[in-house]
């Protein structure tokens, strides 16, 4: 594949996922879009052919850094504490409404209520489909840390889900 094709393919494939991921960090769509644009501009200044085998974690790592930069800029001009900001949109999309019922909506709420770090992992795993290894690379951490944190997130969800739906999980 030529470098131009790699860039085009990456943009087609990861644009929306990266915007969603960046929005998780920045809290607003415009900053997320800026972060994704910056990510692809940085990609274009790299040897994309050499980068291709590990392109996915690279994109998420760079996008994350860009999004964090944008978030810092927002915080600098905002009096609102960063942790109080609502990063996750609770508004269901059309597909979501069609497929899922009340349970799904509630589960999404539970995911949205997780700490930001765990939400980020959930997004990387379930939305972007990254492996533990790729997630570790994207988050600049170890595979075991990813495993432990994601397990904590699943444990929290399970506990809360069980409280509300005791019949759903066999214990």
């Amino acid at each position: 594949m030529s470098p131009e094709q790699i860039i085009t393919e990456a943009l087609n494939r990861y644009e929306r996922i990266l915007v969603s991921y960046a929005k998780e960090i920045t809290g607003d769509l415009e900053s997320a879009r800026d972060a994704v644009q910056e990510t692809f501009l940085r990609l274009s200044r790299q040897d994309v052919v050499a980068l291709e085998p590990r392109l996915r974690p690279w994109l998420f790592l760079v996008c994350r850094n860009c999004a964090i930069d944008h978030r810092r800029k927002v915080v600098r001009f905002s009096t609102e504490p960063i942790e109080d900001m609502d990063f996750a949109s609770n508004e269901p999309g059309p597909d979501r409404r069609a497929v899922a019922g009340e349970d799904a909506a509630r589960l999404r709420e539970l995911v949205a209520a997780l700490p930001r770090q765990q939400r980020e992992l959930i997004k990387l795993k379930f939305e972007a489909g990254l492996s533990y290894k790729e997630m570790a690379e994207a988050l600049k951490t170890s595979v075991s840390t990813v495993g432990v944190q994601l397990h904590d997130a699943v444990k929290t969800l399970r506990r809360q889900w069980l409280d509300e739906n005791p019949e759903m999980i066999t214990t």
């Binding site: 644009q37 274009s44 495993g147």
Partner: protein, 182 residues
């Protein structure tokens, strides 16, 4: 449910020996089986409710970005091509210059005969008769200090070893050395 391997297994992230070990543990542990079932239910449910992200870039901004990215990549490759050519070329040029200097420098250095004349004993070469050379003389023992100046003193006279260089014309002695001769 404190074992991170449970979630890793539910998400198909355990491989090789780790996976085999977990499956062996699973076969003998009812709690583990129950926890795995619960983890699978949750991860499956989260996977199901995770929607395809719908928001992307603004279409105009996207088209602009793609153009700029491709242009960047092309100029990146052009620059790299130049670097790939320029580095070996300049290294080759530098090596050629160094080789030339080495070759031309060899012809202008001291002639072997002169070098041998300065240190014939080192060079081990014979010199032509009548050639003026410097040779190191045998050591001379000379009394030094106060003991040397007092002829009545019974104290042992410390002596120092003096190395001298005598000018010689090969085939005939030239005369006393600069230190007073032997």
């Amino acid at each position: 449910m404190n074992d991170p391997r449970i979630t890793a297994y539910a998400l198909n992230e355990l491989q090789g020996a780790e996976r085999e070990k977990f499956e062996a543990d699973l076969a003998s542990g009812q709690h583990l089986q129950r926890d795995l079932l619960a983890a699978c239910e949750i991860t499956d449910a989260v996977g199901e409710v995770t929607e395809e992200p719908s928001e992307g870039l603004d279409p105009q901004a996207r088209a602009r970005l793609l153009r700029e990215a491709i242009a960047n990549q092309q100029s990146f490759r052009a620059r790299r091509k130049i670097i790939r050519f320029a580095v070996p070329a300049s290294l080759a040029a530098a090596a050629s210059i160094a080789l030339l200097l080495l070759v031309s420098g060899g012809t202008t250095t001291q002639k072997p005969a002169v070098a041998a004349a300065r240190a014939p004993e080192v060079a081990g070469q014979e010199n032509a008769p009548g050639q003026r050379v410097f040779v190191r003389s045998d050591s001379a023992k000379v009394a030094s200090g106060a003991a040397a100046s007092d002829p009545n003193s019974n104290a042992p006279v410390p002596q120092k070893r003096v190395m001298t260089w005598d000018a010689k014309v090969l085939g005939a002695d030239v005369g006393p050395s600069a230190t007073g001769g032997r």
